[in-house]
Subunit: 87 residues, 2 copies
DNA sequence: GTGTATTTGTTCGTATGTATC
DNA sequence: CGATACATACGAACAAATACA
């Protein structure tokens, strides 16, 4: 049941909770390397948070080298072809 | 008259002001049932707001059952032939 | 048939203002 | 005060479908 995935009052702020969930899905392969991460709006709807919060979460993943973003296109899971050093 | 139809600092946000003006024109018949609403770009130019803002306004009218949009075609004022329940 | 313009759909980037903790 | 969150707005780029010369 997935209940509420995000707890607005949790110890960890919402943007870190979202980042953690997405990171787990990437590691589990639910979000495959090279594939696109859902759009910011889609994630915003899914988690019930503002787009701003989703962007903060994606920034964390980007800094962690898990994804890379292409303006006007989308955010993609880092794959073997994406040298970590390139981002 | 007509001055600046939209007040960026008004109590109501721009997209609601645009929606209200268009809704009034529909009720007044200026925008007749079945006819096409000006394109998003045209409305953007007319009101001096971003296309994004126009889209938000049209979303309000759509949710209110006043208009319906056809991709790549345009947005039309709801007419007798358009069962409200269909949208 | 071909190319071009129009129009809506989608996506990310950025900025501002407000509110809360 | 700073970090976080949310709503709104504007901009830019591109896609896809449609319309038309």
């Amino acid at each position: 049941m997935a209940a509420r995935e995000i707890d607005p009052r949790g110890v960890e702020p919402p943007f870190r909770q979202v980042a953690a969930i997405l990171a787990a899905e990437i590691k589990a392969g639910t979000l495959a390397p090279g594939s696109a991460v859902p759009s910011e709006k889609a994630l915003s709807d899914r988690f019930g948070v503002a787009r701003d919060t989703v962007r903060s979460a994606l920034r964390v993943l980007r800094e962690g080298g898990l994804v890379h973003t292409v303006p006007s296109r989308g955010t993609y899971v880092m794959g073997p072809d994406d040298a970590a050093t390139e981002q």
